[in-house]
């Protein structure tokens, strides 16, 4: 970024102010650092600095065997660990052409959608809090807690689940779990309405989000955005529909899209995703077939030489894995992730240019990035 400019006025000269937002700042969602160049409170330009949470997960994975990597994927998008697990396991299955039993695919679908709701709960909480509505945060966390309880019952963990195995699931559903999921669905229905009551028609909320950070569908595609930020701009792209994985091809659901491409539309898209996720969970839970939970998996996982790319729709957007196997060792030759948060973060700079400081935090929240995934 260039050095601050001095504007020469008729009476006074004014200096642009360079302000450092993050990596320690209440609303940069972790350790994002944004260097803002301000003219008054208006953002002239911004530099997005990442890398404060880099743990070398991709390189690390090249020295772990195929099963151990599942645990590392947990630590990328740590608020949607199950989705990461599913993405990785399916990639390896694709590489090895493994057949996954239908029951396992159904459970994966349920877990992915529960995870989406949990992740969106965290998003709506922090996004609303960034805009000053504190109470929504507590409400959303109350429901997220219910989902974490369900996960805890399934796999024993509440945040980093390690909940998948290559070829299926580590363990079957506990008895009565599906009933609890359905109970949760009926609770969640009214809670989404509750969030809406607090925000959707709130005049302040509308003024803070409408017309803020507008991005056209074309620009969004050009920037490589995916997930709700892309759909908010009216591009109906959803991996669940376009290239169904798990059991999505058997599910009935709609892909909500926005029209204006502003913060409000991205908010509405995610809110509708809550409802669509509940719809999918209900279908999957009611239609869950009996049968084995793991397919025919060789004792030693050692895919033949080759490479593959497989993407799934994580709560943040398109989460893709590119894996190369040399066919000789028991670990991947190359392991590369296409994290949705990282790609969506590309949009931050063009989005915040020309807006005010208050909008910067709203827009960071609107893109819903998780820094663990950005830096990996």
């Amino acid at each position: 970024m260039d050095t601050p400019v001095v504007h020469h006025g008729a009476m006074f000269d004014t200096n642009e102010l360079v302000i450092n937002m993050g990596p320690q700042h209440p609303s940069t969602h972790g350790v994002l650092r944004v260097v803002l160049r301000l003219d008054g409170e208006k953002v002239v330009d911004a530099d997005v600095v990442i890398g404060y949470l880099h743990r070398g997960i991709e390189k690390l994975s090249e020295n772990r065997n195929w099963t151990q990597i599942i645990l590392l994927t947990d630590r990328m998008d740590y608020v949607a660990a199950a989705t990461n697990n599913v993405g990785y396991c399916e990639t390896v299955e694709k590489l090895m052409s493994l057949e996954v039993p239908r029951r396992a695919r159904y459970v994966r679908t349920i877990l992915c959608e529960l995870q989406r709701i949990a992740s969106h709960c965290l998003w709506i909480g922090t996004h609303a809090m960034d805009i000053g509505a504190m109470t929504v945060f507590l409400y959303a966390f109350r429901e997220r807690e219910l989902i974490l309880d369900l996960f805890e019952e399934f796999c024993g963990a509440r945040l980093t689940y390690n909940s998948m195995r290559i070829g299926g699931l580590p363990l079957d559903l506990p008895p009565g779990w599906d009933r609890k999921v359905l109970e949760f669905c009926s609770v969640m229905d009214s809670k989404v309405d509750e969030y809406e009551e607090l925000l959707t028609h709130n005049r302040i909320w509308l003024e803070r989000t409408k017309g803020i950070g507008v991005i056209s569908g074309k620009d969004a595609v050009a920037l490589g955005l995916s997930g709700p930020p892309l759909r908010g701009s009216g591009v109906p792209k959803d991996v669940r529909k376009d290239e169904p994985y798990a059991a999505y091809d058997e599910m009935q659901f709609d892909v909500p899209i926005g029209t204006a491409g502003d913060t409000y539309d991205r908010y509405l898209v995610r809110l509708e995703e809550f409802r669509q996720s509940l719809r999918i969970i209900r279908q999957a839970t009611e239609g869950i077939p009996e049968g084995p939970i793991v397919g025919k998996v060789p004792r030693l996982i050692k895919p033949a030489a080759g490479e593959t790319y497989h993407a799934i729709e994580s709560p943040k957007g398109e989460l893709g894995y590119f894996i190369v196997s040399d066919g000789k060792s028991t670990n991947p030759y190359r392991f590369r992730v296409r994290p949705p948060s990282f790609c969506n973060l590309q949009g931050l700079r063009p989005l915040i240019r020309g807006h005010l400081i208050a909008d910067v935090v709203a827009l960071i929240g609107s893109l819903d990035v998780v820094l663990g995934e950005v830096d990996r």
Binding site: L17, I19, H25, P26, S27, E41, A128, M129, D130, I131, G132, A133, M134, T135, L138, Y139, R142, L198, L199, N202, I204, W205, E207, R208, L356, I357, A358, D359, V360, V361
Partner: protein, 341 residues
């Protein structure tokens, strides 16, 4: 020392202590009400039902190290919280909170429940409220920190623009009440219309009340207008660099300002200590109830609404609130002139 003077001194001390403790009570109430709205418990460990939490907070703050950035302007940095706290205390001095009393016959003369009976009380409040902006501006500027500076700038712009509407809302009451003394204004609100509607000015001046409360929230920098300290944007705004007791003073000032704005609103619009059932000597109970209701409203607002954006607030202040206040003033003035209200 005459008993009257003694009573006056005791009253002054009483108000001072009550204001201090009202801030403590407000801290507790704020946390408990927030917890109630957010479906959690709130403080419950320190003392019964967490009642001693504010004391624990103060003790904690006192034992913290007083930090000052090296590049800060030492004098102004120290002075700023003092200005804020002093202005907050001073404003309450002219606010009456009960009818004249002899303290159950202890005194020969009747004493007004108010520290200083100034005949231009409304102007005094207005003047002191304007002073309090200095504390915040100086705090923001002297810390030599960018976030503080932005907070200070925001508050100066915000408080100056809202002072106009605040003042105009006060002026309409003066027209209706035909006095500048708060005690007189309260006494004009005694009695009822048609036997059941209290003669409170809020029924004559509903718009005035709305403008006064909105501007009052902006004046005290409370949510949804808490830009100078908007946590999510400016970390802590003007008091980012403050710690220990100097931070506590800003905190104290904010809560006392809330109490003052609510107390003045009670006196001007809600009939002060007048109310049914209780005799006039116990009117201060009504006063407390009304102030408490307004304070609850403050807390309720804060935990429910998102925050406006700074430029939107300015636009709201200049383009909506100020014209409304001017029109309200003109209409009221015309009404007073023609109907002699």
């Amino acid at each position: 020392m005459s008993p009257l003077l003694l009573a006056q001194v005791a009253l002054t001390l009483f108000v001072f202590v009550m204001l201090l403790s009202s801030a403590a009570v407000m801290v507790y109430v704020e946390r408990k009400v927030a917890a109630l709205l957010q479906q959690r418990l709130g403080p419950y460990l320190v003392g019964p039902k967490g009642l001693l939490q504010p004391i624990a907070d103060v003790v904690k703050l006192m034992f913290k190290e007083e930090l000052r950035p090296r590049a800060a302007d030492a004098l102004l940095f120290t002075l700023a919280p003092i200005i804020s706290a002093t202005a907050a205390f001073a404003a309450f001095a002219v606010v009456p909170f009960g009818a004249e009393t002899t303290f159950f016959g202890l005194l020969d003369e009747r004493v007004r429940l108010q520290v200083a009976d100034v005949n231009v009380a409304v102007l005094v409040i207005f003047a002191i409220a304007s002073m309090s902006v200095y504390g915040i501006v100086l705090a923001g500027w002297s810390a030599n920190s960018k976030y503080s500076l932005l907070g200070g700038l925001r508050s100066s712009a915000q408080m100056i623009s809202y002072e106009l509407s605040y003042g105009l809302a006060l002026a309409t009451v003066l027209l209706v009440g035909n006095s500048l003394s708060l005690t007189d204004l309260v006494n004009r609100q005694a009695g009822t219309w048609l036997g059941f509607i209290p003669r409170w000015f809020i029924f004559v001046q509903p718009l005035g009340f709305f403008i006064y409360m909105t501007a009052g929230i902006a004046e005290t920098n409370r949510a949804p207008f808490d830009f100078p300290e908007a946590e999510q944007e400016l970390v802590a705004g003007y008091h980012t660099e403050y710690s220990s007791m100097s931070f506590a003073m800003f905190f104290l000032a904010e809560y006392i300002n809330m109490v003052t704005v609510s107390a003045v609103a009670t006196d001007l619009f809600l009939g002060g200590w007048h109310g049914p059932l209780l005799p006039e000597s116990l009117g201060w109970i009504w006063f407390l109830i009304k102030v408490a209701a307004l304070l609850f409203f403050y807390v309720w607002m804060r935990w429910t609404l998102p925050r406006y954006r700074y430029d939107q607030l300015m636009a709201f202040g200049w383009k909506v609130l100020l014209p409304l206040a001017v029109i309200n003033l003109l209409v009221t003035a015309a009404g007073v002139l023609y109907f002699g209200l």
